[in-house]
């Protein structure tokens, strides 16, 4: 297997994977969506709320606020040694908010949340949580825990995780007249005209829609669009809770763990 990083920044990553099977790539995709843990608020104790949003709505907004996650120092609540329903300092982070509007209407931002661990804070300080009119108050205590995307979408570390086959475009140059119909119709601008001939400008952008083949006045078309059997382009966009490369690494670890567990069970049963 051969992996190449096509582009990468703090939240997104694009990989080219060659020599892998759909089964493996899809397993990784599903694990990234549903099994890689991340931190989110899941219990809120409202102490005082005289704002115009109901307690439930505020709790929901807090839950959806993505928090920077530290996977190494926190445990999943079910796997923590404390075995307590309430949680301990290894599986729970307390976050408090105390906001009051003293001088006119104001917006309360996620930056005002005070976390007991300065590492576990919202990804962005500028998320509007609520607006308070003069004299209104909001005071609450929230508990953030690790969780998995399969239990609630707020625990999903990725906002996009998708793969596609690597496109393969062949142009029979001797038959192409250079009419540029395919250049016009392509929604992803894959083709370009060079010296009265159509050539592939951006292969990776192709989404295999086949519009170029249909638009070509010649039948059969000199353009042949297909895809490589064992090559994929994988796109990962993190919500900011974890860097994308860490999400992939965690996904492989989880897959490995699940397979080992499966193997153990098979061994036990066969005996």
């Amino acid at each position: 297997m051969e992996i190449k990083i096509l582009d990468k920044n703090a939240t997104t990553m694009r990989l080219m994977i060659r020599g892998a099977d759909v089964t493996l790539v899809n397993a990784l995709r599903r694990i990234m969506l549903a099994e890689v843990p991340s931190m989110a608020i899941d219990e809120v104790v409202i102490i005082d709320n005289s704002s115009i949003l109901q307690d439930e709505i505020i709790a929901h907004r807090l839950g959806l606020t993505p928090l920077k996650t530290d996977l190494d120092s926190y445990n999943l609540p079910g796997e923590c040694e404390c075995k307590s329903e309430f949680g301990c300092s290894l599986c729970r982070v307390t976050i408090t908010l105390n906001a009051e509007a003293n001088e006119g209407t104001r917006t309360v931002y996620s930056g005002e949340l005070v976390s007991e661990n300065p590492e576990i804070v919202p990804v962005s300080d500028k998320i509007p949580l609520i607006k308070l009119a003069k004299g209104q108050k909001l005071k609450l205590e929230a508990y953030a825990r690790l969780g998995k995307g399969k239990n609630h979408a707020k625990w999903q570390p990725v906002s996009m995780c998708a793969y596609k086959y690597l496109p393969k475009i062949e142009i029979a140059s001797e038959k192409c007249t250079g009419c540029a119909k395919c250049v016009e119709i392509c929604p992803k601008k894959v083709f370009a005209i060079k010296a009265d001939m159509v050539e592939v400008r951006d292969l990776l952008a192709c989404n295999l829609c086949m519009d170029c083949v249909e638009a070509c006045p010649q039948k059969p078309s000199p353009i042949k669009v297909s895809w490589e059997k064992n090559a994929f382009i994988m796109n990962i966009e993190s919500t900011g809770v974890l860097p994308p490369e860490r999400i992939i690494q965690e996904a492989t670890k989880i897959l490995d763990k699940q397979l080992k567990e499966f193997e153990e069970q098979v061994k036990v049963e066969v005996k």
């Binding site: 962005s124 509007p128 004299g135």
Partner: protein, 76 residues
């Protein structure tokens, strides 16, 4: 009511982009260009910002007025 924290469809964080988006739309900039420069690529996330109406501002006006009335009564 108030800008949702995340995109309903894909879960991308969009709440923190709202204020800049609203401010720039007010200055007359093209909404599509603003979304591009904010890095909002998918149409599910774009509609979150494009179609949002901050009704909470309208409702808060009633509370602001009530507060003003209370203050003016205290003056007399």
């Amino acid at each position: 009511m108030i800008i949702p924290v995340r995109c309903f469809t894909c879960g991308k964080l969009i709440g923190d982009l709202w204020e800049e988006f609203a401010r720039r739309v007010k200055t007359g900039e093209n909404a599509s260009d603003i979304l591009d420069s904010l890095g909002v690529k998918r149409y599910c996330c774009r509609r979150m910002l494009l179609s949002n109406v901050e009704i909470i501002d309208e409702i808060l006006r009633f509370y602001e007025e009530a507060e003003k009335r209370k203050e003016s009564q205290n003056l007399y």
